[in-house]
């Protein structure tokens, strides 16, 4: 199963669909706000452009990045309760999302590999 499919069609199909719909709305609303703000400003209605257009763009950008941050955190930050053995040294290491447990490498080994002190198995 691909990682993308795993994300959207996990073991609990219903919950994943809800999450997907939520994500779409969380992404769509800020985009609508940004585009709406820009359109409002292009109408060159000084008062409405300043009073509504600029705040719409600010709120849109902030919430767009907030949503993006939530998605990125979900995909990058490691699990604090899932530990696996490092595929190089065999010591315990937290498992990062979208990482195959058999390919997990701890930070020490990763630094050593980058410095040429070790080679990946």
């Amino acid at each position: 199963m691909s990682k993308l499919k795993e994300l959207f069609v996990g073991p609990d199909h219903h919950l994943h669909h809800i999450e997907t719909i939520k994500l779409i709305f969380r992404g769509l609303i800020p985009i609508v706000l940004v585009v709406g703000g820009i359109v409002l400003m292009t109408l060159r209605l000084s008062v409405w452009g300043l009073v509504l257009g600029i705040p719409m763009i600010i709120i849109g950008v902030v919430f767009l990045i907030y949503t993006y941050d939530a998605v990125v955190s979900e995909r990058i930050l490691p699990f604090s309760d899932k530990f696996v053995n490092c595929s190089v040294c065999g010591k315990l290491t937290p498992l990062s999302p979208a990482t195959d447990p058999q390919d997990a490498i701890c930070a020490t080994c990763k630094a050593d590999i980058e410095n040429g002190l070790r080679s990946p198995k």
């Binding site: 940004v34 820009i38 400003m41 292009t42 060159r44 000084s46 452009g49 300043l50 257009g53 600029i54 763009i57 600010i58 950008v61 902030v62 767009l64 990045i65 907030y66 993006y68 941050d69 939530a70 990125v72 955190s73 990058i76 930050l77 490691p78 699990f79 604090s80 309760d81 530990f83 010591k91 315990l92 290491t93 937290p94 990062s96 701890c106 930070a107 020490t108 990763k110 630094a111």
Partner: protein, 375 residues
């Protein structure tokens, strides 16, 4: 399984988004950036609009000035040509057969110009011969001895011409249109006053003949007013003969006093100038902002006013390329802010992950070393 103080069953969670000090600084940065680009966009747009309006007013001023000079010169040219024509024997003889042909030749030679008729009046002030393109309502045999041009001609010398008060024909093909008479005296073979040769110039045609090709847009309107503010020529025929002060005096609109003050100033100083004014639109009964420029038209001792007026919407059609540049710049800056923020989020989260993993590995190695030492 738990390592140190990290709780089981949870994912590594960063500080709540809006509580994070870094995010607050970033939100302030976004707010300041977007507000700044929004203000710059409006400021630049406003500046461009003002500058464009100024440029259009300047163009209108040039059009009004050029039009006024053209009208003056056309009237002078017509007068000069009449003075020469009035000395021809075919005119001075008052011959019943030759004179009508000469008049016809004169009117035909003005084909395509605003000169629409030629009239010969005898020394008693009775209209003797008329030639015109359309019926102007003038009839042969009518007594016009009370007209200003006839009274002037009785005392005038050969080679002089006079521009009379514009007339408003109530009949014929030019009904409701101002017809300005240009007159010159006719002297017989004994150098005695024999009558008057008058030609009629249609002011509407005169204005459109010279100004229409110079108009900024199709909605550019041209008005010709006398020194008292009475319309001699206007796009709306109902305005001809109406006084501008009386016309606008009946209406209420913002800036009316300022407009009247500027108008009065114009009619007192008789110079040229510009207006940027909001006026009620007669056809749509709404307020419209107009850019107007006026120039004096010196005709004999009188100073008429030629006004060129364009609605601001038409003038701002030229704003398009500027507006597009400003909108594009604004959108680009907003997307740069978003792209920068996206990059910042990525860098921040990867750094956080690496720090966590490095901290975990350091703690783990330290604990293993301690276990080894203890054993």
């Amino acid at each position: 399984m738990a390592i140190g103080s990290i709780q089981r069953g949870t994912k590594l969670r960063p500080t709540p988004f809006f509580s994070d000090k870094f995010n607050r600084v970033w939100i302030a940065f976004v707010a300041v950036s977007v507000t700044a680009i929004g203000l710059v966009y409006f400021w630049a747009g406003e500046k461009a609009e003002v500058s464009l309006a100024e440029q259009i007013l300047h163009r209108e001023q040039v059009i009004a000035r050029a039009g006024a000079r053209s009208i003056e010169n056309f009237i002078k040219f017509t007068g000069s040509r009449l003075t020469v024509f009035a000395t021809r024997s075919s005119v001075t003889s008052f011959d019943q057969e030759i004179l009508p042909e000469a008049l016809e030749e004169l009117v035909d030679s003005w084909a395509g110009t605003p000169v629409v008729e030629a009239v010969v009046i005898d020394k008693e002030g009775i209209v003797r011969f008329i030639k015109n393109r359309k019926d102007t309502g003038a009839k042969e045999g009518v007594v016009v001895s009370d007209r200003d041009y006839f009274r002037w001609a009785q005392a005038a010398s050969s080679g002089e011409y006079f521009v009379g008060m514009p007339l408003l024909p109530r009949l014929g093909g030019y009904e409701g249109k101002s017809l300005v008479p240009v007159a010159t005296p006719i002297f017989d073979a004994q150098e005695e006053f024999g009558g008057v040769l008058v030609s009629g110039i249609l002011l509407d045609d005169l204005v459109s003949f010279y100004i229409n090709p110079l108009r900024i847009s199709d909605d550019t309107q041209v008005f010709l007013l006398n020194p008292k503010g009475v319309f001699y020529s206007a796009p709306n025929p109902k305005l001809v003969g109406v006084n501008i002060f009386e016309y606008f005096g009946k209406m209420e609109f913002p800036g009316k006093d300022e407009f009247f003050w500027q108008l009065r100033l114009r009619f007192e100083k008789k110079g040229e100038g510009k207006f940027d004014v909001v006026l009620p639109d007669p056809s749509y009964k709404k307020l419209t902002r107009y850019l107007m420029a006026y120039a004096p038209v010196s005709v004999d001792d009188e100073s008429w006013a030629l006004i060129v007026s364009t609605p601001i919407e038409d003038a701002l059609l030229y704003f398009g390329p500027f507006g597009l540049t400003y909108i594009t710049s604004m959108v680009i800056v907003i997307f740069i802010v978003i792209a920068f923020s996206v990059l910042l989020v990525l860098v921040r989260r990867y750094t956080q992950r690496d720090s966590f993993l490095q901290g975990f590995a350091a703690y783990r190695d330290h604990r293993d070393k301690q276990n080894l030492d203890n054993s």
